[in-house]
């Protein structure tokens, strides 16, 4: 009973991850320039990688026929999810920071830019 419930919860999380991946890819195609595309990429990493990995961990815990292998699989998925949760914002921040410092991207229809005049 509990294992079936775990399987269904994990499966639903994996499906949510797939949907988030689809919308992230769509946003990467539709958004006009780099700074806005970063947000769509975040949808792809958090909703599309961390959530399905946690879902895979729960799903593996629910599979009784796997024997003792289900604990390593669950542990690997969970630790990988935590690592992505720490690493991916760093990468996004580094990209945004480098792009703004080097002024590589033209950005016209913005509302405001408070960082423009700030000297470091």
């Amino acid at each position: 009973m509990i294992s079936e419930a775990l399987m269904y919860i994990g499966g639903i999380l994996v499906i949510i991850g797939g949907i988030c991946d689809f919308f992230g890819a769509l946003g990467l195609l539709r958004f006009p320039h780099f700074y806005v595309r970063l947000h769509a990429a975040t949808v792809g990493t958090i909703g599309g990688a961390v959530v399905p990995l946690i879902g895979a961990a729960i799903l593996a815990l629910g599979c009784d026929f796997l024997g003792w292998i289900r604990y390593p699989i669950a542990g690997m998925s969970f630790i990988t999810a935590i690592l992505i949760l720490i690493v991916s914002p760093t990468a996004t921040h580094a990209l945004a920071f480098a792009a703004h410092r080097s002024k590589a991207i033209e950005w016209k229809e913005k509302v405001c830019d408070h960082l423009e005049g700030v000297k470091r």
Partner: protein, 254 residues
């Protein structure tokens, strides 16, 4: 996103769906429900049986025991690739330290790299040392380990790594130590009266009552060291500043 792109994407997806529908209704889909005889042999003999490698992980027992010579020469191919990369990028003069202005990334990136490198070392060691029990092994663990110097190079600089003693030469020395250990492990069974790369009666299957699957755990450990150090050398080579090369090649300016 232009209208033409959307139409092309739609046509492509529709084509894939149609072809798979057609295959389903008309022809036969290759669906296997049995294991082939050779795979069945490996499944039966990985832990029990007369030809066993005493490892519950069948893929690792194939890699380092049944098809061990394949893996050995594959390691050789990888070593040759790194050697030829070294030959391509060789710098005969001692390179000067290029001083760049600017303070690099913010402290967010630097402190996160400090935390994450510890976690990555733990994870890579877990992958490599449990190669005979769970999916994973020496090559995978070594690739994960090599992420640490790459992150340090990106976040701080190449000289932060070299200032602490991890230069290209040290990495190559560590790599050679790993490879020489693998060669010695290959040759030990010959001295004990067996054949090349023999596993079980020569090496003990249990140490202190814990399953170590004969020589598999040692092969994984040394492969881990060798691959990690080899990738570190590659990343150190890739991060040499362009100015140094322009000075040496004397080709295009800037």
């Amino acid at each position: 996103m232009k209208r033409g792109h959307i139409i092309a994407l739609g046509v492509f997806i529709a084509l894939i769906l149609l072809v798979s529908l057609g295959i389903t209704f008309v022809g036969k889909v290759p669906m296997t429900t049995d294991v082939r005889p050779l795979g069945l042999f490996y499944l039966k003999n990985s832990y029990f049986g007369n030809y066993a490698a005493r490892s519950p992980e069948v893929v690792t027992s194939i890699l380092w025991d049944y098809r061990g010579l394949d893996t050995l020469f594959e390691t050789g191919v990888f070593f040759l690739a790194i050697i030829s990369a070294l030959a391509l990028f060789r710098i005969e003069k001692k390179e000067e330290k290029v001083k760049e202005k600017g303070e690099g990334f913010t402290f967010i990136v630097k402190d996160t790299v400090r935390i994450i490198s510890v976690l990555i070392v733990a994870v890579s060691a877990a992958i490599a040392l449990h190669g005979h029990l769970t999916p994973g092994g020496g090559f995978q663990g070594g690739s994960a380990l090599a992420v640490v110097p790459l992150l340090i190079i990106v976040a701080f600089s190449k000289y932060a790594l070299e200032g602490r003693g991890l230069t290209k030469d040290t990495a190559m020395i560590v790599r050679s130590i790993g490879l020489i250990s693998i060669i010695i492990l290959v040759l030990i069974p010959l001295a004990a009266g067996g054949y090349l790369m023999q596993n079980l009666p020569v090496f003990p299957s249990h140490i202190l009552g814990q399953l170590t699957s004969g020589s598999l755990v040692f092969y994984n450990l040394f492969e881990y060291i060798a691959v990690g150090a080899g990738f570190t050398a590659v990343f150190l080579l890739l991060s040499i500043p362009e100015k140094v090369f322009h000075k040496i090649i004397g080709g295009e300016k800037e």
